[in-house]
Amino acid sequence: MDDEGRRLVEHVAEMQEEDAVQLAREMLDSGYDPIKLLAHCREAMEIVGKRYEQGEYFLPELMLAGEMLKAIGDMAKPLIQQDTSDGKTAGTVIIGTVQGDLHDIGKNIVTFMLEINGFKVIDLGIDVPIANFVDSIKQHKPQVVGLSGFLTLAFDAMKKTVEAIKEAGLRENIKIMIGGGQVDETVKNYTGADAFGLNAMDAVSLCKRWVPA
């Protein structure tokens, strides 16, 4: 990697927001390949993700990393002429906060962590009606569905969503993980999900286990 690229990776990974954004701008202004620049950003995100998994970084760092990625992406993407994505992903995950619950911090962090680990994530948002999960599964054919919920009312909404997925004949081919707030082993059994997670790392390891590379 060239020196500028190395410095960019370091600024992003070390949470030096101003330096990172300024350097990216300078690189692009002087004709640096935007595709290569975004590859450096992905590399930096992998470092951020690892540090999060190792308990060195926490939510504020993930939030700032996401902001840096967005700012740099917004500068670089208009300069890219053709679609360069090779369409390869680690797998597809549909995620959403179940009906009746409006909380999304946990869901967003899980989405972010899955994306930097190469998964394509379809985020259905908050207070998601059961039918939307079913329709989205039919359309996107994910390997994994993630149901999020902070409040205890989510237990029943998760259970009903899992049941509806089963009734639609879609349960066999997908794994369902649940997470958020007060979710635990008891709730996992109650809802009929395959697994629960206490944090975003759990979600990533579950998806990696279920969708082998």
Partner: protein
């Protein structure tokens, strides 16, 4: 039994329950394991009401509180009206920070939910720091309540003096300001009506021998910054982008928050305050961020409340096991730490000589388990965390709205069998 002897029996029970609770809080061994009943909508559901009913019908809610307390016989209860019964007042105010059952998109029978958003922009730190009350009045209230938007027109009093004070009265007669003032009065009347019903049920239950477990609510400075001012995203980014401003703001809040808390508790002649925490848990912040941005400012709030003779009941939401060694730095026998998912046994080891521990029958067990599961869990808690006293039995974050009545009854019944 005559009326007089029933009253004196109830009074004796009241004293006994109060002593049981205070013994636990001050780390003495009580006669038996004390309990507190804390719930948002469970009592309403227990009596066949929807969450919306509970938010709007003061009298029916009072009847539900009465029935739940009499059936469960806790050693103290947190008044429910103050936690949920503000539907009509929010309608008058066109309140925007909450989504509630039957309002906009939410169905009738779920609890209200706070809407995480930026209520103060990063550029407004200076404004807030210069004049917090002015900011709240001119900017914050208009943002959180549609009916109060015209308050932005009120005079800027720090610069309006002498005869200008007299001239400034003109603002209050403007049609839109007048409407806002009328809404304030109507909202105030509505709140007084709610408070009157709440006071009535508190008095009735006092006459039956049941004390109140909380006389007000307070906050941690970071939670106020993150939840109520900057929004979760803004606050997390501020740890990097606006670190000094955030720290300045929290220094102010560490003074202003307990001032409001003490006033609320003293107004009703109480001595207990409830403090739910949202951002202190493991995994949200690093240990270093916690000891920079959360604990020192919150510790100051706790010490000020304790100094004023108030016992804080701090609800440490989530799992705070990694914080135990830091948060033990408070005066002994003055605080209750109410844990949700924190390792209760490690908590007892780390904090047993310092704070009274409260909690933590899991929501999942109360909702999906059996009375036997609940009794087994409570037994384990009593034998370990309850050893020697300093423990109050409660659910993880209070009784969840969806808990099965037989499980809740089992929990409170079992505590009565836990004699020291």
């Amino acid at each position: 039994m005559s009326v007089g002897s029933a009253a004196s029996a109830a009074s004796a029970l009241y004293q006994q329950r109060q002593k049981r609770l205070l013994d636990a809080i001050e780390l003495r061994q009580p006669d038996r394991l004390p309990t507190i009943l804390f719930s948002h909508f469970w009592v309403a559901r227990y009596c066949g009401m929807t969450c919306r009913d509970a938010m709007y019908d003061y009298e029916r809610l009072a009847a539900a509180v009465r029935k739940a307390v009499i059936d469960l016989e806790p050693d103290a209860f947190q008044p429910v009206h103050a936690l949920v019964a503000f539907g009509p007042t929010m309608d008058i105010l066109d309140y925007k920070q909450l989504e509630w059952p039957g309002h906009k998109g939410l169905v009738e029978d779920v609890g209200f939910q706070y809407l995480d958003a930026q209520y103060m922009a990063a550029e407004e730190y200076e404004d807030y720091l210069l004049d917090p009350t002015g900011f709240m009045l001119h900017k914050y209230m208009p943002r959180v309540a549609g009916a109060l938007e015209p308050l932005s027109q009120l005079p800027q009093y720090p610069g309006v003096l002498h005869t200008r004070i007299i001239q400034s009265m003109e603002a209050y007669a403007r049609p839109e300001v007048r409407r806002a003032l009328e809404a304030l009065i109507r909202a105030g009347e509505e709140m007084q009506e709610m408070r009157a019903v709440q006071s009535g049920v508190i008095q009735e239950l006092k006459d039956l021998g049941f004390p109140v477990a909380s006389h007000g609510t307070s906050h941690a400075p970071f939670d106020v910054a993150a939840d109520y001012l900057r929004g979760s995203k803004g606050a997390m980014l501020d740890l990097f982008r606006n670190k000094d401003k955030l720290l300045n703001l929290m220094d102010r809040l560490a003074i202003l928050i307990p001032r409001a808390g003490i006033a609320a508790v003293k107004a009703v002649g109480g001595n207990m305050i409830f403090i739910p925490l949202h951002w202190g848990l493991d995994g949200f912040m690093s240990p270093k961020q916690f000891t920079t941005f959360f604990w020192p400012q919150f510790q100051k709030v706790l010490l000020t409340l304790i100094e004023a003779g108030i016992y804080p009941h701090v609800l440490w939401e989530g799992d705070c096991t990694s914080r135990l060694d830091v948060i033990k730095d408070v005066p002994a026998g003055k605080c209750v730490y109410f844990f949700e998912r924190t390792d209760m046994f490690k908590a007892k080891q780390a904090l047993g000589n310092t704070v009274c521990i409260r909690g933590n029958v899991p929501a999942s067990m109360l909702i999906t388990g059996t009375p036997n599961d609940v009794r087994e869990y409570c037994k384990k808690l009593f034998e370990t965390v309850g050893d020697g006293g300093g423990f109050i039995l409660d659910a993880g974050v209070g009784v969840p709205d969806e808990a099965k009545p037989e499980n809740v009854l089992a929990m409170y019944q079992f505590a009565k069998e836990c004699v020291y």
